[in-house]
Symmetry: C3
Subunit: 298 residues, 3 copies
C-alpha cells in the first residue's frame, strides 16, 4: 500500500488516520516518549526538492516510533548527474527500506518510484500533483478544533493552479463532507475549478486556508508588489471580519507575512491554527507511517 | 585494523567477509531486524566527495547493527576553509568514534587519516586509489551467483586508468583465482596493465564489469559523443552475445545508459546483477563494520 | 532553563558542569557506552551558520545519551526564503523538541528563539555574541590539566572584538578566579577591554588561548600577509618561551597554521591542549544537555 494521493485511502482509513493523528498529538506532548513500534525498520527520506519543515516533520515522526532514519537530500547530491529516476529507485529499493518518503519537483514522480519499490511509498509533495499528508494534517487539525469536518464552510485561497496542497485538500475535505469554496486570481485558477472572489470565499466561512505565494511566480505572472497582492487576493483583517464568528485561519507554511496574509492574523491567539498544523503534522505522519508499515512488523 | 586497501585483509578475512556478507544479505530481507551488536558505538562517515549511494549504503549498514551514525559531508562544509586534513583527522579522533568511514578525492588521504585515528578506518573511495568495499561486494555478488569466483573469466572494461573500483577489483578477484581481462581505450589504460579490446575482453567471459564513464572526462579526453563511446568501448547487445552462455553484467553505478552500457542490458532480468550489487553493498559493509569493530565490543 | 550566555548559569551549576564534563570525558573513552538517559527525547540542532565541528560535537553528545537527533542546516535550506526567525522558531517548537541547539550569524538570535520555545535552548554560537559551551569546555580542559582555574594567568589573544569565544571565556574564566589578559591589534580590541601586547600577555602566562583569525577579515581590516600577522600578533616559539614553565596552549579551532600560531606549537606533545579541547567538547556538551533536560525526564 502506498500513500501517493488522497485517492489511495479508503474512508475508513481516513477516519483511522485522523483518530490516530489526534492520539499521537497527545502522545508527543508527553515529557518522554517510549514507543518502539518501528524498531528495526529503515525509513528513507528521499527529498529531490528542498523542504526543511516537511523533511524535519517526517524525520521526527519516524524517530519517535523507533525507526532508523536515513535521509537523502538530492538538491545537493551527485544523483543529479545523469542517473534516471527509475535507476535511483532501483538503487533505493535494493537497500531494503521499510518505507520511502519522497518529495520531487515533477508531478507523478512518486508514483513512478512506487511502481519499482517493494515497500510503501509516501508522497511528501510532487510538483503540482498532491501532498496527501498535508491534507490529512489539515483535516485532523480542523476536526480536532471543531469536533467535525462535515458541514463546515471551508475557503481555500491563493495559487490554486500550482498548489499540490490545495489539490489534496480539495479531495479530502470534500470526502469528509465540507462545503468548499475556491478563490484565486484568474491566472491562478485551474480550468476545472469554479472560483469566486476572496471576499465571496471568506464570507461566513468557518475555515480559511491561505496558500503560500511563490514569490518567484508572483513577479512573473502577477507583476504585483507584495502590498498589492494582499489588497487584491490576501487575507486582511477587514476581510476576515466577514467570516463566521468562530472562523479559524490555516496556512501550510512558510508564511509570507504581508503578502498572502496579514501578520496579525497569522499570530491571532485563538483564530490562527497555523502553528497547530505543524504540531499535527508530526502526529499525522506518525499515523501514516504506522498504518503503511503495519504488515511489515508482524 | 583498517580497511584502506584490499592488501589490508588476509585470505581468511576475505572468505569470512564474503560469508558474512551473504548472511547479512539474507538478514536484510527479513521483515524486521533486531541486531544490536554496534549499540553504543559511534560510526562517523566523513565524505569529502559527494556520493549519495555509497554514503546511504554505509549509513544503513551501521544503523542496521544499532550504531549511532554521524555524517559529515564536507562538500558543503566549512572545513574546506584552510584546515589541513591532518588537523581534521585529529579533531575527528578526539570525538572518539568507534569507526571512521572516509571518502576523499585525493588518493592516499584515508591512509593519512588512519595514521592519526585510534579507531578502524574504512576507505570508501579515495581519488584514483582504492575502493575496497566495492570490490568485496562485487566478489560477494559473483560468488553468490556462481557459487565460486575461482576460474571465472572476468572482464573489467572502461576507464581503468582513473577507476579505484577497477584497482580494488583487480587485486581482490585475482586473489580469489579469477582470470582477469582489462579493456579500455588506450588513453584510459594504466601503464602497468596489459589491455585488450572490449570485444576480446567480452569473448567467452563469465562476468563483465563495466565501469562508469565520467562525463567530464569524456569530453576532455575522448571528445566522443555518447553514441560513439558506446560503439567503440561500451557493452552492446551484439558484443554481449559473444560472452559465455551464462554470463552476467555488473556495474558499480550510477549507470550512464547508452554510454558505457545499453539500457536493455542493464535491465536484463536474469543477466544483470547491477541492482543485486547495491543490495549486497549494504550487507558486505555490515560485515566489514562488524569485523573491524569486533575488538572494541568486548 | 536556557544556556544562551555564561550569565545564565550559577556558580554551582558551573561547578557541576565541569565535574560532569570530566566524568563524561572518562566515559567517552570506554570501549562501549550504554547511557540512555535521553532515550525518547528529541534534540534538534538548528544551524543557520556552517559549523562542521561544533555540529558534530553536539550530534555525538546527544547520541551518546540515547537522544533522537534531528539536524537542520539552514545554510543549504529553503528557510532562507523569507520566513522570519520567529516563524521558524514557532515551527520548530510545534514539533515538540526536548532541547534546541542553535547557531546563528546574528547576535541575539538564540535569545529571540528561546522566548518562543517551550524547551531549553543552547546557544552554539551567535554572531559576535557568546559561545557558552566553548567557554565551558575550555574551563573544563584547564581545570582537568591544572586541577584548578583560580589564580591562573590566562592570556586571550587575537580578534577579541569579533570573537564570541573570547566573550564567553572572559566571563567564565573571570568568575572562576583566573587572572585574565587580553591581546590584539588595536583594530581588533573591543572598546570596553584594556588590551596589552601579545608579548605582555604571554609573559609568565599559565594558559594562552589563541583565537582563530578570520581570513576574510584579515584581508579587509589588517591587510597583512599571513607571515606578517604571525610576526606581529601570533604565537611564535620565541614568544612562547616567555610563558610560565608549565604553560599550555589552547585554540578553539580550526587552526590557521602559520597565521595566528606556529604549527609546531599547535602540535606540541605536552603543551598543546588543542585536541584535548575537542574531546572535552563532546563531554561538556553531554553535561549541558543532561542538566538542561533533567526536569523533562521525570
Amino acid at each position: 500500500m502506498h500513500l501517493l494521493s488522497i485517492d489511495d485511502i479508503t474512508d475508513d482509513q481516513i477516519g483511522d488516520l485522523l483518530d490516530e493523528g489526534e492520539r499521537w498529538f497527545a502522545y508527543n506532548r508527553q515529557p518522554r516518549r517510549n514507543d518502539h513500534r518501528l524498531d528495526g525498520l529503515t525509513v528513507v527520506n528521499a527529498f529531490f526538492e528542498n523542504s526543511t519543515r516537511t523533511l524535519m516533520s517526517f524525520e521526527i515522526a519516524a524517530n519517535r516510533m523507533g525507526a532508523q532514519v536515513v535521509t537523502m537530500q538530492v538538491e545537493h547530491s551527485s544523483i543529479k548527474k545523469g542517473e534516471t529516476l527509475e535507476d535511483t529507485a532501483r538503487t533505493l529499493n535494493a537497500m531494503r527500506p521499510d518505507a520511502l518518503v519522497i518529495r520531487h519537483g515533477t508531478s507523478g514522480a512518486p508514483a513512478s518510484v512506487a511502481q519499482i519499490m517493494d515497500c510503501p511509498v509516501i508522497n511528501a509533495g510532487d510538483g503540482i500533483g498532491e501532498h496527501p499528508t498535508q491534507a490529512l494534517l489539515d483535516a485532523a487539525t480542523i476536526r480536532q478544533h471543531f469536533g467535525r469536518v462535515e458541514g463546515l464552510k471551508i475557503a481555500i485561497c491563493g495559487d490554486l493552479k500550482h498548489s499540490r496542497v490545495a489539490r489534496s485538500n480539495a479531495k479530502l475535505l470534500a470526502r469528509l463532507g465540507a462545503q468548499l469554496r475556491f478563490a484565486g486570481s484568474p491566472s491562478l485558477m485551474p480550468d476545472h475549478l469554479e472560483g469566486v472572489t476572496i471576499d465571496e470565499a471568506v464570507d461566513a466561512a468557518d475555515v480559511i486556508i491561505m496558500l503560500r505565494v511563490q514569490r518567484e511566480r508572483m513577479e512573473e505572472d502577477l507583476g504585483d508588489a507584495p502590498g498589492e497582492y494582499l489588497a487584491r487576493f490576501g487575507l486582511t483583517e477587514a476581510r476576515f471580519a466577514a467570516a463566521s464568528a468562530n472562523a479559524v485561519i490555516m496556512h501550510p507554511g512558510p508564511i509570507n507575512r504581508g503578502v498572502e496574509i496579514e501578520g496579525a492574523l497569522a499570530d491571532h491567539p485563538s483564530r490562527s491554527l497555523i502553528v497547530r498544523q505543524v504540531e499535527m503534522g508530526v502526529a499525522v505522519r506518525m499515523a501514516c507511517l504506522d498504518l503503511l508499515t503495519a504488515n511489515r512488523r508482524r
